[in-house]
Amino acid sequence: MISLVARFNRLHTIVNQYRPWLLGALLILALIYPFVVRSYYLSLSIEVLIYAIFAMSLDLLLGYTGLPSFGHAAFLGLGAYFIAYLTSSNDLALNLTDNLLISLPAVILFVALIALLIGFFALRTSGIYFLMITLAFAQMLNSISISWSSVTGGSDGITGVAPPAIGLGPLSYSFSSRESFYYLALAFVFLSYWLLRQIVNSPLGWTLQGIRENEKRMKALGYNTFWFKMAAFVIGGAFAGLAGMLLVQFFRHASPENLHWSTSGQVMVMLIVGGTGTLVGPILGAGLVRLFPLLVSSYTDRWESLQGLLFIAFVLFAPQGILGLLRQRGEDESG
């Protein structure tokens, strides 16, 4: 055990020393990845990338603003259904454009508007009540998605969604191959990470973190905390909508499951497992939570139990998540 810790510490030192090189190597690895793996694993990776965006978007709410949303799937599902409704080729849909230049802003605007509406009600509460009211709104949307079948396709959802495309007229490109979609998803992960990083390091982000630490004090300092929380809620919702759009464009299918509370629970688990308030942690968490069942399901049918045990182990032994574990080791070593 001790030797394991020592080895871990050495690893950590190496990681810190060669950080830029490692990041570069990671980037190159990510770029050549589609050429070296089987298409099954590529699909899995795309899924993980999309969930990484979803998890990061919740981190802005939960990790940086202290808003424990238990209904974040609402925004994933809204993005998913909106793009499916716009672009799918069956008779449910408008069969509009699949062009990202139009569909991306449309999805983000739509989801942000609904987030504004939900936030207006939900943000009047806090703590556990906020958790429950966000759950309530997400479940309302979930039950609408099942009942309003003329628009949403009922419990089957909407199928036949077109892959995204970009460009104009003859100069357009469709991300219909798995490889191209991988690069698109990767680009969106980087873009989302960069944008969210800019936000949390801006005055807005500092204010949000102030609200997380002590909302009353921020109020006393003259901040209108309601609207700051609203900003976080809407921005987080919009990024979740982006993830939902990508998810549906990749799987070509929007279903009520996208809106189900277990999806909200899962993304929250990704965050806690990875480490909240870090943006990187949620990416790791998304990978672990999505891949874990596949890793163990080839050995046992009881993978759900194992997953539950994994979560329990995290709470008991690494409550700060994967990143917290790494950091703690780093501090032990330097201190």
Binding site: L62, P68, F121, R124, T125, S126, G127, I128, Y129, L131, M132, I133, L135, A136, F137, Q139, M140, N142, S143, I144, I146, S147, W261, S262, G265, M268, V269, I272, V273, T276, D301, R302, E304, S305, Q307, G308, L309, L310, F311, I312, F314, V315, L316, P319
Partner: protein, 290 residues
């Protein structure tokens, strides 16, 4: 009119079942400040253990006794070895993850052991059949459940409001640390409350099985409904759990009868409206902020 009476009675029955669940959840939250997402799993486990008893000994009453005790012992283990490490409102997320993990494990094991299909449980022979009431025929079992729920509510109220033990528990809801400072073994009280809370969930599972049947996934369904009940009623009070359960039981039953497709929507809409008007629920304790 007849239909209305039937639905009304069904609403009461459904509410009574939810009350037994919600009382446990609310007690645990109010006293220990713990959000227990495995409460639904304890319900299902209680139901299945009860079923095993009925199959083995052909005795519903034995099931009613043994299942809650069995599940309460399990609850004690969970409290002692897992939950005790993470009390406090700063650690709600950890509690959520822990109890969610427990719920996953329990739900998977239950499905493994009892199979992934719907099992219906017959009511005890003594309470089978129907009686005429208000000009309609209504199952005796459901009526007895109504009476049982009322008696249980009364008993819980007496226990909490009129006994020394109840006073300790109520004091613990407002300030557990202070109660500990008065020389009362608060750890013991916590363990007891958690055991009673899980026993109530198991009890609901046993008495609910003849009405709602048993199947994997019911644990999460019932958990969600119960969470809605406690939030609507207000966390931490018995009164809140009771009236919240009645409201949601009615909304659920009438929703299913009148607008079957939108019944879930109706429940969550009720919850959203209540929270908007009274952010801490109908009878929520002021200042009990999580």
């Amino acid at each position: 009119m007849e239909n209305f009476i039937i639905q009304f009675l069904n609403g009461l029955v459904s509410g009574m079942l939810l009350f037994i669940m919600a009382a446990g959840l609310s007690l645990i939250f109010g006293q220990m400040n713990v959000i227990n997402l495995s409460h639904g799993a304890f319900y299902l486990l209680g139901g299945y253990v009860g079923l095993a008893m009925v199959r083995q000994f052909d005795n519903f009453w034995l099931a009613l006794l043994i299942a809650p005790i069995f599940v309460a012992l399990l609850g004690l283990l969970v409290e002692r070895f897992l939950l005790r490490r993470m009390y406090g409102s700063q650690r709600h997320l950890e509690q959520v993850l822990l109890t969610f993990g427990l719920a996953l494990v329990a739900s998977d094991l239950v499905q493994w052991y009892w199979g992934a299909y719907v099992v219906s449980v017959p009511p005890p022979p003594l309470l089978a059949g129907q009686v005429p009431i208000f000009g309609i025929q209504f199952p005796i079992y459901r009526l007895s459940l109504l009476v049982f729920g009322l008696l249980l509510a009364g008993a819980l109220w007496l226990l909490l409001a009129r006994t020394r033990l109840g006073a300790i528990v109520r004091a613990g809801v407002s300030d557990a640390e202070l109660v500990g400072g008065l020389g009362i073994n608060i750890q013991l009280v916590f363990a007891g409350v958690f055991a009673v809370g899980t026993a109530l969930a198991a009890l609901a599972g046993v008495v609910g099985a003849p009405i709602r049947t048993l199947y994997p996934g019911l644990d999460f369904e019932i958990l969600i409904l119960t969470l809605v009940v406690v939030v609507v009623g207000g966390l931490g009070t018995l009164k809140g759990a009771f009236w919240g359960a009645m409201l949601i039981g009615m909304a659920d039953t009438f929703g299913k009868a009148l607008v079957p497709q939108f019944s879930l929507f109706l429940i969550f809409a009720v919850m959203a409206i209540v929270l908007l008007i009274r952010p801490s629920g109908l009878f929520g304790l002021e200042g009990l902020e999580a």
